[in-house]
Symmetry: C2
């Protein structure tokens, strides 16, 4: 039930006509009875910030972290759309607020899709009344469907805690995924009782192990947004378990994104250990994860570790060429900086699996990091050769 798994939330989705093929393209998540929920958000660090991100930030700030609804559209990012785009994002919130009977500031807005094309407000305006009528207690999957772009599957999660509350969520994202920020759209809901600050703390703590550890193509989108709303309907308050459940939910959504990355044939976990610091480990892991040479070789199931060592050495992390070790899964192929004997059959099996673990030990210290990524394939090139 994804975003409606937690008590106190309703969701829905409609096809309002933004996508030319008539697919679902407008989604809404609201609280039951329009009661303001505690809310927190994490947004893109891209300075080409999309209009809906700017508007949602202002709304969250002006309400002190309260929201009644989140409206999301796919098919158009409302980015690089100037003053008109900002007015369109604000008007979308106002249209939803008028239908729901709340203040526009209590509505948050997210968009995803093509950049640089004005948001078609006719379809949005005519779609909002139908959208509010589509709200259901089991509407989570419909909303998750309506935010897909090139995603081939819905991304949904439910974490049921021993503390008596639930965290549910939905997300979209299959390209333009990079660390350092939220990297996609995700809406999480919980029926725990929590203050906006507790939600914000839980969300920020969840990022390093989930969305910030995900790099599909190193591209940071203009629209990335993660929102977390708490209805309090369970009557339970437990900040620690809440943070744990939010982290688990975010990690699950991030893994789902890695598994559905554009054109990818495999999920690749790049793990760096033995770095001089965690920062160095992250820098080194990201360099390997974003290397087009490494990504092509993973696609070809090629165990050529020389490229991995070359990326580690040029990542900027402290590096000793005589100390590095590289393993694919459990098979070590490079030790003390040079090739080492290994079982070629076992290695071939590891390289061909749909989940590949690339492990590098820099042999210098205790720093470690993990980055989730994918291979680079003919299909990725196909998907990104054109916009249609």
């Amino acid at each position: 039930m994804s975003v409606t798994a937690a008590a106190g939330f309703r969701a829905g989705g409609v096809a309002c006509g933004i996508k030319p093929d008539g697919a679902l393209d407008l989604a809404l998540v609201t609280t039951e009875g329009r009661a303001p929920a505690a809310a927190a958000g994490v947004f893109t660090t891209n300075r080409a910030t999309a209009a809906p991100v700017l508007v949602s930030r202002v709304h969250l700030s002006s309400t002190g972290g309260r929201a009644v609804a989140v409206v999301l559209n796919s098919g158009n990012a409302n980015a690089a759309s100037g003053a008109q785009g900002r007015a369109d994002a604000a008007r979308t919130c106002a249209l939803v607020a008028a239908e729901l009977g709340c203040r526009p500031e209590e509505v948050l807005v997210c968009s995803t899709g093509l950049i640089g094309i004005p948001l078609p407000m006719g379809p949005v305006a005519s779609g909002v009344p139908t959208l509010t009528r589509s709200l259901r207690a089991d509407g989570g999957p419909t909303a998750a469907e309506a935010i897909r772009t090139t995603d081939t599957v819905r991304k949904e999660v439910v974490v049921d805690t021993d503390a008596g509350f639930v965290v549910g969520g939905m997300a979209k994202g299959s390209a333009m995924l990079a660390p350092d920020m939220a990297t996609m759209l995700a809406v999480l809901t919980t029926d725990a009782e929590a203050t906006p600050q507790q939600l914000d703390d839980a969300l920020r703590a969840a990022m390093p192990g989930s969305f910030h550890a995900l790099s599909v193509d190193g591209c940071t989108s203009t629209n990335d947004t993660v929102l977390l709303l708490a209805s309090g309907a369970s009557g339970r308050s437990a900040p620690g378990p809440l943070a744990e459940a939010v982290a688990e939910a975010c990690a699950s959504l991030a893994r789902q994104m890695a598994g559905d990355a554009e054109g990818a044939t495999k999920v690749v976990e790049v793990r760096v250990e033995g770095a001089a610091s965690d920062e160095d480990a992250a820098r080194a892991a990201r360099a390997v994860a974003e290397s087009v040479l490494c990504k092509c070789s993973w696609y070809g199931c090629d165990p050529y570790w020389g490229r991995v060592v070359s990326e580690l050495g040029s990542s900027g992390a402290a590096f000793d060429p005589d100390a590095v070790a590289v393993a694919y899964g459990p098979v070590t192929v490079c030790r003390h900086g040079v090739a080492c004997p290994h079982d070629a059959g076992a290695l071939a099996t590891v390289m061909a699996a749909p989940h590949l673990s690339v492990n590098a030990d820099l042999g210098l210290g205790a720093g470690s990091a993990l980055v989730l990524t994918n291979d680079l394939t003919h299909a990725y090139v196909d998907e990104n050769m054109g916009t249609s």
Copy 2:
């Protein structure tokens, strides 16, 4: 005549058996009569530094910038090869020195090819005597042929100056090309009279406008080396014109590399102007040039400028979303941060040409930068799926 165009140099190449297909794989450039030439070098910044780079650096330093010969092999990078690799690189120099009758320190060494595989010294040792016998005054093209790996054509240049001397050169490089260092192998020769310091100054001044402005895949190789040797055979000394000729030669070789990048169908010049500083402009231009999303869209002749704006915004450069303009060639498609009317027919012609110019104006200041790159194609994926 490339590396033998300047008076006072000889070159040659042989197939010694490093490459399994029997292609030329060992090259030698020497001075005429074994007279030590003034010499300077620029080397990779990759901390996984290959053995020949380590050895050449020590040799250049111990002779105070004098060299009699440069020996180069393709088919094996002698990188990630540990202490044995360093001994092999030193022994290669010693073998050449014994044949030529000079000191091992007067021989510089370069390798290019696969990483992590011991250099086969049997073929090298048996090939060196044949190699020295292959030296000719018109041997430049043979040497340039012998340093090719995935290059589809030889890279050669001759700059004939009004000052009465010549700068010639050869290079290899078609992947693992990124700025911040030399990014490939290149050997330049001149018959100008020059001190090692003058050569070093000329070489370093030439980098920003040539090899440092080239980014094919953002990967910095372990072996990158640019060497410049001066025989003085012309009897002319003119540091200013020499620096200009070296810059022109390096720029030509860099353009040749961009034109022969693995799998590329077009050369793309990314030019950023109006940045707050030159550093910001370089950061922004490199972000666009290395974006796999942008590179795929250029392959597809897709004028979707939203990705360009998104990369500029996440590059770290100062950025105002309402000030940016983007043009493909002369056709402006985005002004003041939003789409603007343009001639679709003219745009289609620009996008389909084999040479694409992507121009962004950040509208903030006087900083500018240029990065040479390519599109990302099915053929690049093919070439890098495997090592054979």
